[in-house]
Amino acid sequence: MIALHDVSRRYASDEVETTALADIDLTVDAGEFVAIMGPSGCGKSTLLNVLGTIDRVSGGRYLFEGADIAKAPEAELAKLRRDRLGFVFQSFNLIDELTIAENVALGLAYRSIPAKEKRDRVAAAMDRVAIGHRRDHYPHQLSGGQQQRAAIARAIVGEPKLILADEPTGNLDTENGAQVMDILSELNAGGATIVMVTHSPAHADIAKRTVNMLDGRILSSARRAA
């Protein structure tokens, strides 16, 4: 489904140049559930952002379903994100000024879908993560686990083919973390491809493949024995 060839990402900030990613070769097939692990600062989030097209590569090729989008125009990438991708962040990134329902609806905001269908899909997504009863609350009125479930609802309301989750359980306790992992597994079972960054070996075990990173490079990629 997606393939990175020799991808690198360097950040230039006043004199210091940081290489966040180097010589990345990675292929993810449709329907996979990939966990990315590695020490802090090794480039996991950067890799995920590159996959999600919200960060540019400094070099290399990024094939999305066969087409090279490494240098695609911004508008095309926006369309790709809108139609194919779903994001879940460690820090939720819900908008404070909007209610939970409005936050979830944001996932459909840039598509032309009839209002009624939008409402139905938002309600369905919220029910799926068991957050429907909180629809009119504001993010700061919810617990961390509830906020993350809302963020997942927002990511899946557009029925994306590829879900990118950056430490989705990082800010949650064990029980809430387990809930989130259940939802992700369910989504994967339903056909969605998932790439997830995590520090938890237990959660990585739930994925079908684990990619280990160090200093911006991929060390190893191991498929879980069936």
Binding site: S91, D96, E97
Partner: protein, 796 residues
């Protein structure tokens, strides 16, 4: 941490915020200060000399039905009668005219006033040297002002020296008895030279006398006011025909009320004062908006202060203190801006404003008051909002508190208000400028360019044979295409008003302005003949109207303008030709009808005029010359003048200039002040919008990042942000349009010659405001819309 260090840090940490906030406020304060000085100058008219409260002026006017009220001089006998009828009354008469001072071989035109000795007790002018009252005790004594003294005698004392003054062509020698200090500009009635009025001034009847009065107390003044109609009946004006007595009105008015008595003058001052207040208000709104917007960013600081034990009182004091320091800084900057701008403002606004730091007119007390008021006004709301934050809520929320939603709503309301006012001011500016341009270029019924008028032709010192000689010499000057003389002239001249009656007509006969004109009057002005013929005394000797002879009794020939023909009840100009109308005992035959000429102010309706022909142009005629190159011809005319009447100063100017001086100058100057005020007010509004956009986009970086992650394109985000910033501006039109419409239809209503209040002004001003607002926020919106989402989300 003290207020000062806290403010210093918040200023240096948020440089943009500080620049916008203090800069905007300083601009608002500068506009306010300049216009405050202007209003103080205008409302301070005739309140500068000690004892001004006790001075009253006789205000005498005449109004024919259907005509504007005109001021007429007071009678020289009135003062004596007042003193006799109301014991305790004192006063002085003031008769001003143009004189000329002989300086070597040249004559310098100077204003001169003959006054009663008591004049200098009523008006206590500051004296440089000598004593004005004793100076005027001698018939050849003269009092002059310091600038005059300096121009003739330099720095040396001028007491006891002599001055040769030419009055009505006759030279007289005066001895200087006192010199007055330079006078402030806001005194209505003053003069360069003062001499004594002959005790029996009745011979001077009909000249422009003013009578100033002073009463023992307010009760006496009130009694005189009440009794004035009876007084006028007891002492009728011997010059007034019986029928006209009811048309005249005599009042006494406090001198200090005279300057702002005219509606349009008062409105002008009020409006400019309002513009100053509005500019300040907009700047204060900016401060409040930016301060509460930043409240979101400062919420954590405030919450932490509360956590460590600051009371709400302490926080309010801290925030008010910050406002005080910021406003003080802005005021000093504003004062400096005002100082820098004043010479420029004075030049284009025709004012003479200065900022005084010491003395009674010191700017410092009002400025201190302003600082206190603005600090409270600007600091109160942010202090209240910020100190109310619940620390737990603020610290728990990822970023800003949910309470900021109300603040955001208030900010939107204030932006709507700001732009409403700014757009209204822009519309008004457009209409103002268009109308003022219109009156300066409008068709006046005659070709206004290339006309020169010489009022000095008609002064008493120039006799009939000199006039003939002048006329003949000027007509043959190279560059002169036509010459005429007439009593009536653009902006005034001499004429009379009387009723004209059409045989068989019913109802009140219309009052018609009676003008005498000389040879080739209509041809020189370039007036269109609508029906009949113009005067042609060569072919029709009876065209000449004679007075004072038997010939007066016969029917005389008149040319009337279109308005007269209509008022007399003729359906068309052609219908009036050949018709007879009676004018008092005389009868007049209409030989022609010409187009209306607008000699009066554009504020007044066109006059109905009946022209009769006199070889010499009539009483105190004005010479009017048509020439392509007015400057050259003016110089040639002056040479001719000096040869023929060397003892009378030459006074001539283009008709354009005369119209500008009399009718347009004040409007032009005031509209310039208004325009500057309006532009700066709009600029202040934009500064506010820019600041809000800056803070709002900074606050929304995360949200924008998320939207882009969810598939929003740059265009989507740009549309979202611009839409959100511009919606209040668009909404502002709802406020602006009605205000501007009401204000401008009222103002235009004061003009007879006016433009239509076209919707174009509204649409263009609104579009312009929208464009300016869009340009103001576009940069910021573009920046965040373009940002890589990953970077935006990492900024947290």
């Amino acid at each position: 941490m003290s207020i000062a260090t806290s403010l210093y840090r918040s200023l240096t940490r948020h440089k943009l915020f500080a620049a916008l906030n203090i800069g905007g406020l300083a601009l608002g304060i500068a506009v306010f200060l300049v216009l405050y000085l202007f209003v103080r100058f205008e409302t301070g008219y005739d309140r500068v000399l000690p004892g001004w409260q006790r001075v009253w002026m006789v205000d005498r006017s005449l109004q024919f039905p259907g005509n504007p009220r005109v001021e007429i001089p007071s009678l020289p006998t009135m003062l004596g009668q007042m003193k006799a009828d109301y014991p305790g009354t004192t006063g002085a008469r003031f008769l001003q005219f143009d004189a000329a001072v002989q300086n070597g071989t040249t004559l310098v035109a100077q204003t001169m006033a003959q006054v009663d000795p008591a004049y200098f007790r009523l008006f206590q002018f500051p004296v440089l040297e000598g004593d004005p009252a004793t100076a005027l005790a001698r018939p050849d004594g003269i009092v002059i002002t310091a600038p005059v003294a300096r121009s003739y005698f330099g720095k040396a004392s001028s007491i006891g020296r002599t001055l040769t003054v030419v009055i009505d062509g006759k030279a007289q020698i005066y001895r200087i008895g006192a010199v007055l200090r330079p006078l402030p500009g806001n005194i209505s009635y003053t003069s360069d030279l003062f001499t004594a009025l002959a005790p029996d001034a009745t011979g001077q009847r009909g000249k422009g006398f003013r009578t100033f009065l002073s009463f023992p107390d307010a009760i006496a003044a009130a009694r005189v006011t009440r009794d004035l109609p009876a007084f006028v009946k007891r002492h009728p004006d011997p010059d007034f025909p019986v029928g006209m007595v009811d048309l005249a009105q005599t009042r006494i008015v406090p001198l200090a009320s005279v300057h702002l008595a005219a509606d349009n003058v008062r409105t002008g001052v009020t409006v400019l004062g309002a513009v100053g207040a509005v500019a300040l208000l907009l700047a204060v709104v900016n401060y409040v908006n930016l301060a509460t917007a930043r409240a979101g960013l400062r919420a954590r600081e405030i919450a932490m202060r509360k956590v460590v034990g600051a009371t709400r009182r302490a926080l309010v004091l801290q925030l008010l203190g910050e406002a005080l320091v910021a406003v003080t800084l802005a005021s000093l900057t504003g004062l400096a801006l005002a100082e820098i701008a004043l010479p420029f403002i004075s030049a284009i606004g025709g004012t003479d404003l200065t900022i005084a730091y010491l003395g009674a007119n010191s700017i410092l007390p009002p400025l201190a008051l302003l600082v206190a008021l603005v600090s409270l006004l600007a600091g109160f709301h942010p202090a209240f909002v910020l100190s109310r934050f619940q620390p737990a809520g603020v610290l728990a929320a990822a970023r800003t508190s949910g309470g900021d939603r109300a603040g955001a709503r208030l900010r939107k309301v204030l932006v709507v208000l700001q732009f409403g006012i700014a757009i209204a001011l822009m519309i008004c500016t457009a209409v103002l400028v268009a109308q003022i341009r219109h009156v300066q270029n409008a068709d006046l019924g005659f070709a206004r360019n290339g006309l020169i008028m010489a009022p000095s032709y008609g002064v008493a010192a120039v006799d009939a044979s000199q006039r003939r000689e002048l006329f003949a010499a000027i007509r043959t000057l190279p560059g002169v295409t036509a010459v005429t003389t007439s009593g009536i002239a653009p902006t005034g001249g001499s004429y009379s008003i009387s009723a004209m009656h059409r045989a068989g007509a019913t109802g009140e006969p219309p009052m018609i302005l009676q003008a005498t004109i000389g040879d080739r009057f209509f041809e020189t002005y370039g007036v269109k003949l609508l029906a009949g013929r113009l005067f042609d005394p060569q072919r029709f000797p009876t065209d000449e109207t004679r007075t004072g002879t038997d010939a007066d009794k016969r029917e005389h020939m008149v040319v009337v303008n279109r308005t007269t023909a209509r008022r007399l009840g003729f359906a068309t100009p052609a219908a009036a030709v050949g018709q007879s109308v009676s004018e008092g005992e005389r009868s007049a035959r209409i030989v022609g009808v010409v187009a209306d000429m607008r000699f009066a102010t554009p504020r007044e309706p066109l006059n109905a005029v009946s022209y009769s022909y006199r070889d010499d142009g009539g009483f105190s005629p004005v010479l009017v010359v048509r020439a392509a190159d007015t400057a050259t011809v003016l110089a040639r005319m002056e040479m001719v003048w000096r040869r023929i009447v060397p003892n009378v100063p030459f006074a001539a100017l283009t008709v354009d200039q005369k119209l500008y001086d009399s009718f347009y100058r004040q409007d032009v100057q005031r509209s310039r002040l208004f325009t500057i005020g309006a532009i700066l007010a709009a600029l202040i509004g934009c500064i506010g919008l820019y600041g809000l956009a800056a803070f709002d986009t900074a606050r929304r970086v995360q949200e924008i990042g998320i939207r882009k992650v969810l598939g929003a394109s740059t265009g989507d985000v740009l549309r979202l942000l611009l839409g959100q910033f511009l919606r209040p501006v668009a909404l502002a039109n709802l406020i602006a349009w009605p205000i501007a419409w009401v204000a401008m239809s009222r103002w235009l209503g004061g003009f007879d010659d006016r433009i239509n209040l076209s919707p174009l002004y509204f649409i263009v001003a609104s579009a312009l405001a929208l464009a300016i607002a869009a340009a103001t926020v576009a940069g910021q919106a573009w920046r965040v819309a373009r940002a890589e989402p990953a970077r935006a989300l990492r900024q947290l």
